[in-house]
Amino acid sequence: MYRIENYVFPSSLEEACRLLNGDLRGSAVLGGGCWLRLGRRHLRNAVDISRLGLDGIEEKEGWLELGAGVTLRRLETDLAVTGRFGGILGRSVSSIVGVQFRNMVTVGGTVYARLGFSDLITTLLSLDARVVFYRAGEMGLGEYLASNGCPGDILTAVRIPDDGRQAAYESLRRSRTDFPVLAVAVSRLGEDWRVSVGARPFVAARAERAEACLSRGGGADQAGELAAQELRFGSNLRAGEDYRRKLAAVLVRRAAQTLERGGEGCEG
């Protein structure tokens, strides 16, 4: 468990950033705090941003904006979220531990940490999400995942184009509430497709050859095979590299087929 010397509720994002940058190695922002708590860090400053009003869900000029403090549970229950993108945001997080846990874990804490096993990051990447930092400003989620991160900065929101994109989610778990062995999100806006594969066990990445295949009508089978070929997979205690690669072909195919049939809840 972590140790904390000073627990601070900053009154503004500016103050929070100042606290962080005053002692970058000894400070951390507390989102939900569930992952951080499992580590052994000795924090001189725990900067709790839960009182900065970052927990809004807003529909803004063609975007759905999720404040960094929005909990995963709200992605399952808030109608502004469940009514969009085929309800994928709520569904993709619904197997994460239990309701009590999801009442604590935040969108911002999950995305900022760029966790490889994240169901949410996999989904957001398939929806062309963008991340907003207090100092660094806005950037694509993919760009953030590929960067060295934003130490000393604070993620304030995640923005998703509210463009009517439909999406489907597939994951395999060794038990219902465990981390995923592999997570796949596929989205579609007309003939514009996105394929995102996470828990490889590396952080989610787009499978662009699979996307191009789907866009030109190459079909779900071929897209699955391409995703399995083009992405890098690895081994950990949940599964080996070869197994994950084979699984990717299956899950990408299934998710793409769901969208070819018209989305979640539609029979072929």
């Binding site: 904390i4 499992l38 725990a46 709790d48 531990v97 239990g98 009590q100 846990f101 009442n103 509430t177």
Partner: protein, 155 residues
């Protein structure tokens, strides 16, 4: 650091180490129904409500609860008793260690979901592990309790 936390309607003003978890705080206040299980946020044994929202007290910093209202099993005794009676009748509490967290989760579910299906009940309670019952008796108990609440069953 100094915190002011209202637990089951009583204000507790305490000086605590900054890394105190809410689980330890409420137990130090005498609310011993709250149990430590996995201590990693997985088993649901330590479930309490903060502002009526169920959370895992093993992973919730007590500092974050400063100024807030916390409810443990001791704060919902009447409802807990009726559910506990249904659990006893159905053999749904064996060693009993998970029961306080389980009951807090079921009561939260009853506030959140209107007449849930078995599938919805099972999904809502996935975060509450029990190593004795196999869950079938718990499901029977919940169904009986919900029926009783709707005035359809024997008290």
């Amino acid at each position: 650091m100094r915190v002011n936390i209202t637990v089951n309607g009583i204000l507790y003003q305490r000086e605590i180490p900054c890394d105190t978890m809410l689980l330890d705080f409420v137990r130090q206040c005498g609310f011993m129904s709250v149990k430590r299980g996995c201590d990693t946020g997985n088993c649901g044994l330590c479930t309490v409500w903060v502002e009526d929202v169920p959370v895992l007290s093993c992973s919730y910093p007590a500092a974050r609860a400063d100024g807030k209202r916390v409810t443990t099993l001791e704060g919902v005794q009447e409802e807990a008793e009726s559910l506990g009676r249904c659990m006893a009748r159905q053999g749904a509490e064996q060693c009993g260690y998970c029961s306080p967290g389980f009951i807090m989760a079921v009561l939260a579910m009853a506030r959140e979901l209107d007449n849930p299906t078995d599938e919805e009940i099972a999904h809502y309670l996935e975060g509450n592990l029990c190593r004795c019952t196999g869950y079938a008796s718990q499901m029977r108990a919940i169904r009986a309790w919900m029926k009783e609440r709707r005035g359809e069953g024997e008290p």
